[in-house]
Amino acid sequence: MQLIRYIILALLVLNIQLADAQTLINGIVLDSETMEPIIGATVADAKKGKALTVTQADGSFAIPKNNEVELRITSIGYKPLVTAITPDGRYLLQAEVSQLGEVVVTAQENRGLTTSSRIEKHAMEHLQPSSFSDLLELIPGGRSIDPSLSTPNNIHIREISTGNSNYATSSLGTSFIIDGAPISTGANMQYLAGSWDDMATSRDNTNAGVDMRGIATDDIERVEIVRGIPSVEYGDLTSGLVKIERRRGGHDMKFRLKADMGSKLFYAAKDFEWEQHRLTLNLSADYLDAKADPRNRLENYKRVTISTRLQKQWEQTDYMLTFSSNIDFSRSLDNDKEDIDQSYSAEDSYRSSYNRYALLTALQFKTKRPSWLKSADLTVSTSLENDLIERTRLVQLSRMTVAPLSKEEGENDAYILPYKYIGHHEVEGKPVNAYVKLNARLQIPNNRVSNSLLLGTDWNLDKNLGRGQVFDPMKPVYTGISSRQRSLKEIPANHRLSAYAEENVKWPTSIGSLELTAGIRATTMLNIDTEYAMKGKLYWDPRINVGYSLPRLSLFGQPAFIRIAAGIGQHTKMPTMEQLFPDMLYIDFIQLNYYHDNPDYRRINLMTYIVNPRNTALEPARNLKKEVSIDINIGGNRLAVTAFREKMTSGFRMQSYYRTYQYKQYDASGIEAASLTAQPNLSDLPYTVINELAGYGNYTNGSMTLKEGIEYTLESKRFPVILTRLTINGAYFRTTYDNSIVDSYRPSQVIDNRQIQYVGLYANDDGSVRESFNTNFTLDTDVPRLKLGFSLSAQCLWFTTSQRKEISNYPVQYIAPDGSIHEWREGDADDMYLRWLVRDYTSSQFEKNRVPFAMNVNMKVTKKLFDDRLHIAMFCNKLWAYTPDYDSRGTTIRRHVTPYFGLEMNIKL
């Protein structure tokens, strides 16, 4: 509270600073079509030809009072405006290439310095998405993919993902921000400990970021997908930023009904706007029902979202205050049940639900007077989730199986499970997130450069109040479970505090215009133990984007603009709660396994060790992005090309480590079964002490992801007569994955009654290089007279390659049963035991695998009827495909493609 008081005081002081100056003429320069401010336009004296000033970040300018003066306002991309001083101070510049009335159904490259794709409402309407995942088709490198809604959908920007969870930092490090509030996944602990079945593991989304299935698209007004270097305003990300802005205001009542081969979607919304009160209210609800296979009713995904968005503005002569508040509820439900007719029992089921309640409150203050402080924003968002996984299974064992129960280290008797029981395992998570962000935009008036300074701070809290893994240890669904129950409340809250500053400069000169965005962000983790390496450490993210626009020129008789830009930036993603505080591991060894016909005399004795797999040396994942781009616009035909290189050497990965443990191996062979009257007594049994190696996993920063590539987008003007516009976009990506940490492996072979007792240590593992090169040719035709939109997209994948990094079959060292580490020597490969440490990769596994050309043609049609009140749309992806057979080392590979189609109806009342 104290903090907020200071901030308000500071705002007031800054606001007063420049409140004199009655001798100035104030003006604002706007785009005549979009009414957006034009930054860095040169305001000159038309007669004298002398530059007076440049417009600032809000398009405003101020010049000394002189009513005689005639102004000439110029800005690259706009027709120069020569005008007398206007009474209202508004100066509208006309774009050289008019975009007026243009319906854009593709993603567009953002015109700012940051490399990003903008997807507007029209594009979404034309695409007919079921969830946010479908929109990614539009960004360079994207391709239409059949929706797969029965497992989580993660985002992969600028990469060819392998699906390997050790390289999930890319999707974890992509931040989704809806109306200014980030979706936090930092306290997601929804995994079924000990699970091995596909039903559970395929739906595990911990440490993988946002599940895009849960984001409905119908309320979205616009999306900006930042592929390049985002402003330092945005933190806790490594790879990308998705900014979603939802609709505010309007008067419509809307319904949408969509059905495709796997899902049905229903959406209803009511928009209210009271212009005189500057008040808007939007209510909406959406329901999605998707099935993995339309014939199977037992495996499905359901989503419900309900949204209420309120905004109120107060406009005074000196300032404008905007208050926004959103209340959102979303529910995702994965259901998977066994078919009773086909199998065992009604009990076998998997159910995972995510219920998220979010409250966002934002206050924006904008000054209208010339002052250093231009605007200030306060965003407070909180969310509470109630997540529950329920797994029920009829367990029927084929063997005497034990459930270790001891929560203490030491010798203990295991519980022998019944052969048949119904196991029930729940995972209850209640992640709580609080996020506060305070921003101020300042401006130091300057007649030569337009500038603004952004200062801000944000604080994020993640805590989980759930009970975590909940199961009866005497009736486990997963008998091999190595963790015991713990309440997630015991895990300390993760606090993250950041502060940032960023300067934006635009300097129009006679030899072109220079733009610069340079900022720095500092982040620290609070509330962690001193033993953690991150404790008290500040992580700095400097990010710079620079651009140079050539002066206005003419090419092929058309006005042309060319901008060259480059950027470099550091990005930091803090580890998640699960990565910082993984479950304790209980490593049990059987000391005695005695079976008797009489169940009362059976005995399994264990030695239990507890291992804390916390890695206090864990650091955040950091990604350094570099890119250069060129943006050429000739008469409205625009080509944007970006070359990038992103290197993240500290991605999170699960690494296994081995240690030696001791246990007693009791010899039960002397027991006379017939004479027993109770369980065998351990003290009567001879034993030998055995050394055994056992592994455990912990999180490290060992994953390297290097993303390189070129993205390109060519957007043509809409050709007259045929009313068609051509968009060519695509990308060449080359993604290198590597593991910088020694990998260990223990062979599972059993030789002479014992598993091989050695663990090999290998210099590296599982690296790969993948490439892909694609181009989408999209022809979209918009016939306003017929209210008909039509697009045909030929999506060509020129090739994809994959190549494993060549790794040695031989370990560099090995661990012996007593824990001692030995160097690998040449003759070891002939040793009866050690030879199993030699891995069996062959050179051909490291050859490059290349999949040649494939093309899909997708078609989409939209038609508006009844005065635009009814809007019908349909799509057919892969309507036609060309996937030639090819030869791979003597084998002919045939590829098959199945079309995917859907239909929808929108009603606007």
């Binding site: 079976y595 050179s843 050859e847 695998n849």
Partner: protein, 408 residues
């Protein structure tokens, strides 16, 4: 007429009196050659006794086994100073031998009546013909499908394999190993080098322990080798009581995730297994099985019988040269019997050499056929109760036969 009869009698009298006058010749050495069935090797004779009874004088000459001299696989018995005459000869004894590498034993008694031993004929041949020593151990049943619980879940702990002594001699089952093929009959690859004509590639080898003569199996008798030698019906009513099994596949481990049941039966010696989890037979029968007499020590086999195969792996849109590791090999000569198992709808090849099994057998004609549960492959028997063994399991086995131990 009478006169002539008298003459004859007189002549006869004269003849006998003549001979009783001459001393009966004594043959210095009489050689009795004892022949044993040709397929026996390493024969060792014990408790041997040769008795030569003179038909006329009823005099009994006994030769103790110590005087039996081994000659090839047979024996020679030297009898000194036998009176010429007609003898009844009886040779009894106990033979230990190896038959196709498997230790065996048999008591025998050979008799030969009215053998004339004279100066010109003093070598006689006795042939042990009371047994033929044909056949040997065979796999008589493999129950790999398991049973199902009343709720319909599969239960695999009751898998078993039965091996039977199909010969007419007692054979020792010590150091006979149950082998599971490393390759699947449902995935044909061109493994390089191709050793199938000389070796069987295995991923599991569990051997019957013993000192060489610990586990005698009478002719026609069987050994039940159970995955878990317990009475499964107490926990799983649809299952089998295997508490009387002769041996069990026990996987000793310190990992409580893979606890195996150590039932009453002695454990097989786990020479090698590809996995540290619990071993069980492929429940759809994708691996071939064999039994072999391990003819070398465990250490030697583990040290010197590794096989590294490479092959080209093709899947979807890529192909790769792969190494198949975790394979040991067993020479085909060691193999006593082998059975290719597969499923018709997915079968690609046989992984045992045709000299061991030229055919294949099955439970379930399509993959994952649930009706295969409770069924076995069982070797057919001929009219005499002998198991048919033509080294072609297509002919020799009854596929999808009800498991013989079920409901017994």
């Amino acid at each position: 007429m009478l006169k002539s009869i008298m003459m004859m009698l007189a002549l006869a009298m004269c003849l006998t009196s003549c001979s009783s006058d001459d001393p009966i010749p004594v043959i210095p050495t009489t050689m009795v050659t004892l022949e044993v069935p040709v397929n026996l090797e390493n024969t060792v004779l014990s408790n041997a006794n040769a008795t030569l009874t003179n038909v006329e004088t009823k005099q009994v000459t006994t030769v103790e086994g110590a005087k039996f001299v081994k000659d090839g696989n047979g024996y020679k018995i030297m009898c000194n100073d036998l009176e010429a005459g007609t003898y009844n000869v009886v040779v009894t004894g106990h033979l230990d031998f190896t038959l196709n590498g498997v230790a065996g034993q048999k008591d025998f008694e050979v008799t030969s009546d009215n053998v004339v031993i004279s100066e010109t004929s003093h070598d006689l041949k006795m042939v042990v013909s009371t047994f033929t020593a044909q056949g040997g151990f065979v796999i008589s049943e493999i129950f790999f499908t398991g049973t199902s619980t009343p709720e319909g879940k599969s239960y695999s702990g009751d898998q078993y394999i039965i091996i039977t002594n199909n010969s007419d001699v007692t054979l020792y089952a010590d150091s006979i190993a149950v082998l599971e093929s490393a390759f699947l009959t449902t995935a044909k690859e061109d493994y390089t080098p191709d050793i199938m004509s000389t070796h069987f590639s295995v991923q599991a080898c569990y051997m019957i322990p013993g000192n060489g003569k610990s586990v005698p199996v009478e002719p026609g008798q069987s050994l039940k080798l159970a995955l878990n030698a317990i009475n499964h019906t107490t926990e799983q009513p649809n299952s089998i009581d295997l508490s009387n099994a002769d041996f069990e596949f026990y996987d000793e481990t310190s990992n409580p995730n893979f606890t195996d049941v150590d039932g009453n039966a002695p454990n097989l010696d786990k020479w090698y297994c590809y996995t540290a989890t619990i071993y069980q037979f492929h429940s759809r029968g994708f691996n071939s099985m064999a039994i072999a007499k391990m003819q070398t020590s465990k250490e030697d086999w583990l040290e010197n019988y590794v096989y590294d195969a490479t092959y080209l792996f093709v899947f979807g849109d890529f192909s790769k040269e792969m190494t198949k590791s975790g394979i040991y090999k067993v020479p085909n000569e060691w193999i006593l019997d082998g059975v290719n198992l597969s499923v018709e709808s997915v079968r690609e090849w046989n992984v045992l050499d045709a000299s061991i099994d030229a055919g294949w057998t099955y439970c379930g004609k399509v993959d994952r056929d649930d009706t295969r549960i409770n069924k076995s492959v069982i070797r057919k028997q001929d009219a005499n109760g002998k198991y048919v063994d033509t080294n072609n399991s297509t002919n020799d086995f009854t596929p999808e036969a009800p498991a013989s131990l079920l409901n017994k």
